[in-house]
């Protein structure tokens, strides 16, 4: 059924269709409607789940970890400061190999209190061991929650679905809401091999020695690496049932392109306007959208950029003292492929500053005019 849904409600509907069993959350703008809608759905008896509004995000993730350890499908949602407060437990959930799915509404971090979007909240959780998706419309929001559970439960890793604050979270779009039977066919009940069970007692979270710790890490990394294949496979199953196609990356007008805008999140959609306009003028340009940030699709990005003349990486985030984060990772991915195409790194739209087609045209213009970048960051729109 087609419905008009704001991004936050697309999350709630996705979680409901996934038949989550425990929801623990703490409110924070711009995530609040996710949990408010879920509390209503649960109270109305439309979803057989336990809902608890706990006393902080740290407790929310802890409750999800507890629930997931017992074999329940657990869900939470947060944003910015809330995600940062969870940091300790993000590591725990991932190293504990618990298939929790969380929606994070990308909001810039304080101080300089703000509620507007950028990606520094989730990108600074890079090394916690979570699978991270960056989505670009509300359909993808809903679908990625459902996909997320399937994937998480296959590879035993938690999944974070990131969406831009307000641009998606509070914006209504037409969304195809799948039938429950179809979702049930895609996503069977969660029944992990290892779980807390009174009839078969086990100990979780024990002390380890350096004899085994490193192997834990190795296995965690291997699971991440394998999850690339599993993402492709899961997306294939999803497409068969629901008819919508997703992957590690998304390409737009890339086939014969010479120039590439490399994007993530909703900027990707704004970029389509720019690409269409430039194509009209005969510029051979396309978009490579990075949908999965962890595991990082370095090989796939290198393959997509092979033979191109130039690429313009657009980051709504920053690693202070280095560069835009996607830019840095992509540059690293090309090195051992012997690829040396001019790669420009633009930082734009921090703290929710508007990113319009005009700004994106400026980015392309800049890239066209320069042979190679001379700086690690080309700042867009900074009042210096």
């Amino acid at each position: 059924m087609r419905k008009l849904l704001m991004g936050n409600h697309a999350i709630s509907v996705g979680a409901t269709l996934s038949r989550v069993q425990v929801i623990a959350a703490y409110p924070i703008t711009p995530q609040t409607q996710v949990v408010e809608m879920l509390s209503e759905i649960v109270a109305d008896g439309k979803l057989n789940a336990e809902f608890i509004k706990v006393e902080s995000e740290h407790s929310a993730m802890a409750a999800c970890i507890g629930a997931s350890t017992t074999g329940a499908r657990a869900f939470t949602a947060t944003s910015a400061q809330g995600l940062l407060l969870m940091h300790e437990l993000l590591h725990w959930a991932a190293h504990g190999r618990l298939p929790i799915v969380m929606a994070n509404v990308n909001r810039a971090v304080a101080p300089g209190w703000t509620i507007w979007t950028d990606q520094n909240d989730s990108l600074s959780q890079r090394d916690t061991g979570w699978i991270q998706f960056y989505v670009a419309d509300n359909q993808e929001v809903l679908d990625t929650i459902i996909l997320g559970y399937k994937l998480a439960e296959k590879v035993h890793l938690p999944v974070m679905v990131n969406l831009d604050a307000f641009v998606l979270s509070h914006t209504y779009e037409a969304v195809e809401v799948p039938d429950q039977e179809k979702v049930d066919a895609f996503l069977p009940p969660f029944n992990p091999e290892w779980k807390m069970d009174v009839k078969n007692p086990r100990a979780f979270g024990g002390l380890t020695s350096s004899d085994v710790y490193m192997e834990f890490q190795y296995n965690h990394h291997e699971a991440m690496e394998q999850s690339k294949k599993v993402i492709a496979e899961t997306c294939g199953e999803f497409e068969k049932i629901f008819g919508r196609k997703y992957g590690l990356l998304e390409e737009y007008r890339m086939e014969d392109s010479e120039y590439v805008m490399v994007t993530s999140g909703t900027i990707s959609k704004t970029s389509r306007i720019v690409v269409d306009e430039l194509r009209e003028k005969g510029v051979k340009i396309g978009i490579l959208r990075v949908r999965t940030f962890r595991p990082f699709p370095g090989e796939e990005i290198a393959a997509a950029l092979a033979g191109k003349k130039k690429a313009f990486v657009i980051d709504r985030n920053i690693s202070y003292g280095k560069s835009g984060i996607f830019y840095d990772e992509i540059k690293g991915a090309l090195y051992n492929k012997g690829m040396n195409l001019p790669l420009f790194g633009f930082v734009i739209g921090l703290g929710g500053r508007d990113v319009t087609p005009a700004h994106l045209h400026e980015i392309v213009d800049y890239g066209m005019k320069h042979d190679r970048p001379t700086e690690e960051i080309i700042w867009m729109g900074v009042k210096k």
Binding site: Y26, P27, I28, T29, T32, V35, E36, S39, E40, A43, F51, K53, E55, S56, Q81, A110, W113
Partner: protein, 275 residues
């Protein structure tokens, strides 16, 4: 007429709160106490967490620090230890003080550092649009309890008492004079001082509970208000849902910084651990 204007950072006006919000009354009461005591604005530090109440420091023309959700007391503790001569006033909402920051609250009471803590209890998460808080009354509808709150609520005063605060009072925004008095007494007390100010959030609590305008919501507070003297003759059951107002604790106990200095002195003189 008291000279209160020097405590106002008027260039940040107008105030941000909804018309009729009780936080304005708490703001005024605090400003008037500053003026009455005649404290130098430069000697004052006003700290807050996050929430509608967390926006208070912006409007004080003193040193101010607007911190993260739930952590106001921890920032304030650091500031007070670094500059013990400053008078430190901290504002928190009920969510800030009793949910996400609850741990810091009990330890601040225990430690008894000379900080003045004003908890704006509007029984709801005001800023984020009306989610249940640890002080939301039973049965009240919030955006996260659409069929009424089923959790028991905290009694802030009892918590502060049990954790060791040396000044504890509760008042409501319906009684601005009494509110001013307890804030003044808290400011003059040496040690960790707690004032719980019951406030109205007709927008995000009242609206969903047939109290959508300030006057009915203030009347609701008034009907539930019981002065401490009268409360002594009532049973715990009768008092369960009431706002008992007055001064509950006022006692001397060594203040943390004094103990700390004393310990340092001993350590430097003798260089020996206590036997």
């Amino acid at each position: 007429m008291l000279d209160y204007e020097k405590y106002l950072r008027t260039r940040t006006f107008p105030l941000p709160w909804c018309p009729g919000c009780g936080i304005g009354t708490i703001f005024k009461a605090t400003v008037m106490v500053f003026a009455k005591l005649g404290w130098n604005p430069d000697d004052l530090l006003v700290v807050s967490g996050i929430g509608c109440s967390g926006r208070l420091p912006t409007y004080f023309n003193t040193n101010t620090l607007h911190t993260t959700h739930g952590r106001a007391l921890t920032f304030a503790t650091g500031a007070k230890l670094a500059q013990p001569e400053k008078k430190v006033v901290v504002f928190s909402g009920d969510g800030d003080a009793l949910a996400i920051g609850g741990n810091h609250f009990i330890h601040a009471c225990r430690r008894n550092l000379d900080i003045k803590y004003i908890i704006v209890n509007n029984c709801i998460y005001g800023m984020t649009g009306g989610q249940v808080s640890p002080t939301t009354p039973g049965g009240f509808v919030t955006t996260t309890t659409p069929y009424g709150n089923s959790e028991p609520h905290f009694n802030t005063v009892e918590m502060a008492k049990a954790a060791g605060a040396t000044y504890v009072a509760r008042e409501t925004v319906n009684r601005p004079r009494q509110l001013q008095t307890v804030i003044e007494n808290a400011f003059l007390h040496k040690g960790f001082s707690v004032v719980e100010a019951i406030s109205n959030c007709h927008i995000n609590l009242g609206r969903r509970n047939k109290l959508r305008h300030p006057i009915p919501m203030l009347k609701w507070i008034e009907e539930l208000t019981v002065p401490l003297a009268k409360a002594k003759d009532m049973t715990p059951e009768e008092l369960e849902k009431r706002f008992v107002v007055g001064e509950f604790v006022k006692r001397d106990r060594p203040e943390y910084y004094d103990i700390y200095r004393e310990t340092m002195k001993k350590a430097q003189e003798g260089g020996k651990h206590a036997e």
